[in-house]
């Protein structure tokens, strides 16, 4: 089955989403950690009242986490699950036939 073009496609789609997305959120998170350490002038700037850039940056990490989780769930329901299901059925049929 691993030789089938469909499996290759599934693998490509999955990795094409998961790898860049992982790289992106790790960089975004590390940016927060590094800026907290080495960019005090920017992070300490007050935006509204006592709310500074650092807090907004931190809350944005929450927003992006929720967003990316949601995007991945949509992506896999649309682009991965149907293909995986078909391959699983083929596998079950193949096993019964042999």
């Amino acid at each position: 089955m691993q030789a089938s073009p469909e499996f290759a496609e599934l693998r490509k789609r999955y990795r094409g989403f998961a790898f860049p997305a992982t790289a992106a959120f790790l960089i975004w998170y590390l940016l927060f950690v590094f800026m907290s350490n080495w960019a005090p002038g920017f992070m300490n700037t007050k935006v509204i009242g006592n709310i500074n850039v650092a807090l907004i940056f931190g809350l944005l990490q929450f927003a992006t986490t929720f967003g990316l989780a949601w995007a991945y769930s949509r992506f896999s329901a649309k682009r991965l699950d149907p293909l995986a299901e078909k391959l699983r059925d083929d596998y079950a049929k193949g096993r019964r036939a042999s």
Binding site: A21, N37, M43, G49, I51
Partner: protein, 550 residues
Amino acid sequence: MSHQTLTTILFLAIVALTVAVTVWASRQTSGAADYYAGGRGFSGFQNGLAIGGDYMSAASFLGISGAIALSGFDGFLYSIGFLVAWLVALLLVAEMLRNSGRYTMADQLAYRMKQLPVRKAAAVSTVAVSIFYLLAQMVGAGSLVALLLGVESQGIKNFTIFGVGILMIFYVTIGGMKGTTWVQIIKAVLLMVGSALIVVLVLAKFGFNLSDLLGAAAANTGKGDAFLQPGLKYGVTPTSKIDFVSLGIALVLGTAGLPHILIRFYTVPTSRDARKSVMWAIGLIGTFYLFTLVLGFGAAALLTKDGLAKVAATKGNLASPLLAEMVGGGPGSTGGAVLLAIIAAVAFATILAVVAGLTLTSSMSVAHDLYNSVIKKGTATDKQEMRVAKLSAIVIGLIAIVLAIPAQNLNIAFLVALAFAVAASANLPAIVYNMFWKRFNTRGATWSIYGGLISSLGLVFFSPVMSGKVLPVLDAAGKQVGEISGSLFPLGVDFAWFPLENPGLVSIPLAFFLGWLGTVTSKEPAAEERYTELEVRALTGAGAEEAVQH
């Protein structure tokens, strides 16, 4: 009614409820798949709640809010790291693990490698990480009960730790995964409702204006704007800044290597449900960590000098309960006593659920990986295996009780972060390589697991956590009047040579490197051949373990 009576009643109610659920679950448990994986019959939503219940430990509830109350913005890193980490689990681990394993973390390594060495390594690291994590929970239980009874008696703290240990052994041996999962679900609901209540009460005091709350926190702690800015705790020296990075990396990479979280993915019928449960967990955990921000800054803003001193004396671990007492009307008031009792009971439920999950995980790994696969070469019956699992739950519980007693002067979130560093070093590299690198083999896996485990534990041992950290004792005017030890060893003992308190920055890359080195220096064609099979199974779910039909 005194608040002690009320607290005792609430504690007993929680214990009774969870015990009843456990007994009920034990009647539904018949075989190993039930005992280990809850029959794989939980829905994505139920498992999402249970993951939340397993993950939001005393470290989150007591530790993070305390870290924020003491160090301001720097404590918030815990909340962020603990949440963002779930993306690693969601994107790279959860579904593939569900499809390729059976009961334990070792299963997916053993799928294509030499059973014995990888199972042994994975079992050792599972037990090590779990015991580290258990310590933190026990410490939380001890300080909580001492606060409620209003005594600083070491005897009572130790007795509490012992009692928690006995309860968790009960949940695990009687209820198995089903019982434990339901305990975690109940706890997740209690925790969310309880902390939401305090959050609303705190925000109401500031007219739901976050900026005012922050301003009051900055003013009340006497630290001013620095309290709201990064760097109060970690920005002092270049070493502490690097420590901050090390902590940040351990937090974000640790979650997907925590054995007690990983095995939760086996309790659902399909990989799609595993994904759904992570989605629910992210929503739940994210909301909770937003609460911790309010709890932490709320404690800093509202507690009296006396209260803040108490928080500091317990390394922050009591910030949330004391805050609950304050928003209920303050010490001595009925409202304060009621809220304190409720929050303490919630924290107690939190601790019970997490220790049960941890003990279950490590005892399963001992029985399934060490006993059945290594000692019995796979010939043990389900019955024998489960008996060993129950026995090892008792032993692990006892070890945790003994080790928890000296660890009582550390912040719980900090202790848990160490467990994260160990998990990220010992487990994550092997899991990720195994899923995504065809060439990966047995030597690579064992080198990375043992290398990560030994280096992370070793570096902690030679770090300021264990010895050599001296803290000034200040009088009311802020003048230094003496010194105390900030380490586990008393003042005067100093064998620390590793400057960072969190080892992740060194041990995680080292484990990845060792995994690579071990792999390229050995040849194992079988592991490469089986990889294709593993990948098909992981991605499509073909041939994966199915739910138990009752």
